[in-house]
Amino acid sequence: MQPPAEHVHWMFATGFLLLGLFLLAEAVAGEEVWRRRRWRAYLWPSFTFLMGIFMWPVMTFFTNSTIHMVAHGAWAQVMMFAGAAELGLVRGKLTNPLWRLATPLAFLVSGLAFLLHEQNQWLFQRSSFLHHFLGWTLVIGALFPLLRALRPRWALANAGFALVFVVVAVALYADRDLAPVFGHLSPLAGQPHR
């Protein structure tokens, strides 16, 4: 009854797509208008926190090696940490602006977790490519939440922050359990699925 791993990736892709849309809308409308309705201010931080919670069962039921499990556990923790920090900032419970660095830290840790737990080369199979791609996207993309933390009203930083999530969503939608990437598939990877 468990979903195949690729289905789980697609479900998370949808979550990241929605997250990207929320943040893009906030970047376009501006923080003041976005927070005019109270629920909207909590929307993306609580969504991130929730996705972090959902990452725990993924870690428990879908990882087939220790390093895989550690990576998924790291994503679960940093997503919950970033979501909680942003919730605290929005609510006013957290006042120190250094808490804004929680999200760039989450990006960096997530990116490094992708890069460190992938054992194969870029073109070994599609998931290997996506791990490298997502890892570098998040490591380099951490610049956007960092700039956003330093200059919260800078539209470019906010839009870039949102678009990183959209790119992550596209990459996750492209994931398959076993498939070639740009025509490359190592014979060691096994038989491609449908």
Partner: protein, 87 residues
């Protein structure tokens, strides 16, 4: 006695600001991406050939989920936000 039953309705001219235009196209554009994917890879829509498919293959349909995400975002997030920009 007046036989004129049609009442005059003042046309409501509404000019959307650039920010409102961007917000109003985000959701439909996302939905369009889902539709395009569904047309490009119809075999991804297992509802079109549901026999011998397990629950997860029928439930998780990425092109349809993108379509739904775009529509839900438009209805529940973008529309109220556009109204707030108007105010």
């Amino acid at each position: 006695m007046s036989t004129q039953t049609a009442t005059h309705v003042r046309p409501r001219a509404r000019t959307l600001a650039p920010r409102q235009i961007v917000l109003s196209v985000l959701g439909p554009l996302t939905a369009l991406v889902g539709v395009t994917w569904a047309i490009a890879q119809p075999y991804r829509i297992t509802l079109l050939h549901p026999y011998d498919q397990g629950f997860w293959w029928l439930f998780v349909q990425p092109p349809l989920w993108i379509l739904l995400a775009g529509l839900a975002f438009h209805l529940f997030v973008a529309r109220p936000l556009i109204e707030d920009l108007d105010a």
